[in-house]
């Protein structure tokens, strides 16, 4: 067993992650201004930029879905119950006792079971919810008779409220996500890895790059 710098996050993955981070945070700032919580960019600017950022995020998402399938990275998000209990125990108990992570990252398995569940939830529930309600919101032109009618629905209420609900959940996710980045080997090791792509991990010389259970 030896420690080695290994490429965990590929270039596109890092680009995607940080683009998504910037866009989502920008969407939060503009979105909650539109929701009436504060005045920052001005309502018209907030709406306009929110829409542009949303389109950019949708484009990014389309490319990323493509990337997931082409590279096979989607397999990282297959939910598993292996070590699930171990991780729940780790975050509620072991972490306070200085215990090591139940597993460590490899290129083939960089997400722990809790992350797998959370990110899968984001990918198949929260993001689709936000994107679908967002698209309806954008294309919605009131129930009307004119030629620029795109989608004729009775009102914004349900769409807007679901979109708001999703937005709150994303903020909650962001808070937890930012905190959990500090639970790596050192406080900044996770963030550093997401920036550079490389993380120092223990590598089994004989069975390279394979998930190994810490004994």
């Amino acid at each position: 067993m030896a420690k080695k710098y290994v490429l965990i996050y590929k270039k596109y993955e890092r680009f995607w992650h940080w683009m998504q981070a910037i866009l989502v945070i920008f969407l939060m700032i503009t979105g909650f201004e539109i929701h009436g919580y504060y005045s920052f960019l001005g309502f018209l600017n907030a709406v306009t930029f929110h829409n542009y950022a949303a389109i950019a995020l949708i484009v990014l998402t389309i490319f990323t879905i493509f990337w997931h399938f082409v590279t096979g990275e989607w397999k990282q998000y297959i939910p598993t119950t292996d070590n699930l209990i171990a991780y729940v125990k780790y975050y509620t108990k072991g972490i306070f006792e200085g215990a090591p992570h139940p597993t460590h990252k490899t290129q083939l398995s960089k997400l722990n079971p809790l992350q797998r569940l959370t990110y899968l939830g984001l990918k198949i529930v929260l993001f689709p919810l936000m994107i679908s309600t967002g698209i309806l919101y954008m294309l919605y032109r009131y129930p009307q008779k004119s030629t620029i009618e795109f989608i004729n629905i009775g009102g914004l209420e349900v769409i807007a409220i679901l979109h708001t609900l999703g937005a709150f959940l994303l903020v909650a996710f962001l808070v937890a996500h930012l905190y959990l980045t500090t639970t790596g080997d050192t406080i900044f090791s996770n963030i550093k890895a997401m920036l550079t792509g490389y993380e120092e991990i223990e590598v089994d010389e004989n069975n390279n790059e394979k998930a190994t259970q810490q004994s």
Partner: protein, 522 residues
Amino acid sequence: MKKVIVGIFLILVGIAALLLTVKDPYSEAEKLDELKAKFATLKKSKVDHSKFPELQKDFKNPREVTAACISCHNQRHKEVMASNHWNWERPTYVKGKGILYLGKKNHINNFCIGSHGNEMSCAKCHIGLGLDDKKQIIFTDSTNIDCMVCHDNTGTYAKGDALGGAPAPTVNLKLVAQKPGKPTRDNCGVCHFFGGGGNNVKHGDLEKAQFHTTKDVDVHMGENSENMSCVDCHKTENHMISGKLYTMSSTNNHRVTCEQCHGETPHKEDIINEHTLKVSCQACHIPEYAKVNATKMEWDWSTAGKLKNGEPYVEEDEMGNHAYMSIKGSFKWAKHVKPEYIWFNGTASFVTTCQPIKDTSKPVVLNKLYGSYSDPFSKITPVKVHRARQPYDPGTGLLITPKLYSDKKGEGAFWQDFDWYAAAREGMKESCLPFSGQVTFIRTESYWPLNHMVSEKDKAVSCTECHTRENSRLAALTDFYMPGRDYNKFVDGFGIAAVVMTFFGVITHGSLRIMSKKRRSR
């Protein structure tokens, strides 16, 4: 991988550039310039009427002028006599009531209430020259048409006070007859700015300041902007003037709209153009009305009739407007008024003189303007709401049209005798309606859609005057979800709680980690 990233970046940049540049090639400014150029031409009469031999005489009475007009413009009098300006009524379809003939002739409002019994005074705004021997308006004699009141271009023609529509004796008829032309603002304004018995009493957006005004007050009529006349928008063919007011109209036709010149989607910003499907132009572009002189907001007839030393008197408010008149009651006036907003689809209904009112617990709306969010033809429309307390007969349930005007005492006219009972009895008799002998007062409202006093573009209502949680201009329109104003209490409560709890969870977890680490290192 590098190629992929560069590719994605280029695509994103490309999309952003497209979004920013794909705009209507025919820009907002170009459209406006074109419209401005259209009205920047000098309007000049093509003929000199003073050279016509028919007009080279000293007219003894105004009817001779009319006869001279008709001698050349033959058949035009028939058009006039088919118009509602002449007839004081027009056929109109009212939902639930069928086809009615509605107009000044039979309409009831909450200002001076009705014209019946008051023709001598009200006929000042009839385009006729006088009343018959029974003091009734002449609707059948073409020589009674007053051509001059609309077509005088000398600015010297004026109707006499309470002469039943005849011109003031001081008018030089020859001078007026020799210089007719297209109606100017003066011709229209002399009646329409003074409806209700004084300047800006009724409309709020049409008043004497608009005879000569600036673009701050009215961007169309400003002498330092387009300087447009009324008939530039109120296009007229065969004496049928387009446009009408919904205090007396009920159908969605013959209207003058902003879109007729400006198009449906005149803005640069798509997001603002989208609004035009549900929001009228007026809603944003008339942020306030009564910009120069105050308009009457409330009229309480129930206080009328108080006398000082047996004489009627007048009190003024701090702006110099009548606050109380013995002949009319108490008033409230206001200047720079923010409109109220309603959904309006161009149709309306009316309380008619012969329609009993059962529920008087809340204000009776005299002209109900129809519309709702779910109605595809409705738009948010700014209105002036005039609120009043006016005489009502609890016995018959009818609104009372009192006799107000007379030139002498003893005929039951309220403005002479100050007796509600007599005024109601005489007024209802002249309207051929029953009267039980009781007079009380009920609250009524009339709705006046605002169309004039359009402000300059940069003074239009801004986004957050409506899209805001507190004091939204549209706070009263609750039948739809509006971003910025509306939210779901449960979802917002849950969302905030979720974020706060996550935050505290994180802080707690973090603190425990720090503490346990310290403990371990000890």
